[in-house]
Symmetry: C2
Subunit: 205 residues, 2 copies
Amino acid sequence: MPENRDIKTESPTKTKIRKVASTLFSQYGYKGTSVRKIAAEVGIRESALYNHFKNKEEIFLDIAQEIFSSPFHFSHDEIQELALRGKPFLQKFTMHYKMLTFDKSSESMFRLLMIELMQNQELREQFMSQFHDANIKVLSEGFFVMMQNNLIRSSDPMMIAYEFISTLFYIRLQVTVLKFDTKPVNHLTTQFEKHVDFFWESIKV
Amino acid sequence: MPENRDIKTESPTKTKIRKVASTLFSQYGYKGTSVRKIAAEVGIRESALYNHFKNKEEIFLDIAQEIFSSPFHFSHDEIQELALRGKPFLQKFTMHYKMLTFDKSSESMFRLLMIELMQNQELREQFMSQFHDANIKVLSEGFFVMMQNNLIRSSDPMMIAYEFISTLFYIRLQVTVLKFDTKPVNHLTTQFEKHVDFFWESIKV
DNA sequence: GTCTATATTTGGATAGAC
DNA sequence: GTCTATCCAAATATAGAC
């Protein structure tokens, strides 16, 4: 737990290492980033770097834990309340997802996740539990409430949740891929809203 | 163009190099696979390997071109005919997609694509054009026909195509991730069909 | 076409002075 | 905490004999 990462007590150098390494890892991946390059960009020698971190892997793990630090905070009560209103529930969830997609920091962490997804079993498992299961849980709870209240057609809530989240993920991946090459993503900015509209029309009674 | 890759005239060693390298690259990625290891697994020295390929990158590119060698073959006429029947069009397209998802060779090429997606601009661009645009084109053509014939509710065909393909992609990614750790994917085998059913109910008039 | 030998570079990591 | 110096391993690639 990062209680020890007290921004006040931590040395500025360590903070800078984290920042530099984060940028490099999220661009070139673990193997593509050398300790040499991190040190050079920080402005110190490699040996000095080892005063702050045990080794390269420790730096990576320190950064990697940030990938899943922005979970979806929807309380049970919040879900119940929003779901009773139907579409606003989907809108709120989607706006949160969209925000993460375009947030600089979340964006680079998502890129890192995609880069290392097939190289790191731990990340794959966290991807499944944090990116998939967690979202499915929140969404299916909402859809369940909507069904109970006859707002949407009756079906399997988890299946509907799966259908809903998959498009959000796909948009996010596309945005990430395009932005990596600094290509325009204007055409995708409204895609999230379009998805909600289309989906709501599909399921409402 | 691989006219020169005549299976008859090509040396068995070169064929074996391709096979071994393909397996390694699709497991460990470009950086994670060394020429040493390829040579060792083939059963020759590294130096001998350079008699068949100019360098490591040439081996990779040779293999990488296979990633996009299984495009969707839907002729204009075929689309027209199937789309006139509505749901069968979606079923046919989806079954093709499902087949690729579970085909051993396509599976490992898809994994390679995911591994290198964020490391290789060329692959990103091909991903966009071959995996995304090509699918959107076929699907939106089909949806357009369905709208003209009043089989589905009127809307933007490309937007509907986007919605449809995103779920297929998401299922494929999940299958790939799970299989990488030899985890069960039974629960996902019927997901494709469920998606078609749900989607058709969503758009049919 | 394959081998041995070797050149060269890059990368992770440590020892010890300041 | 940072530096210089150094070590060691791994990786790409080439030369030249067989």
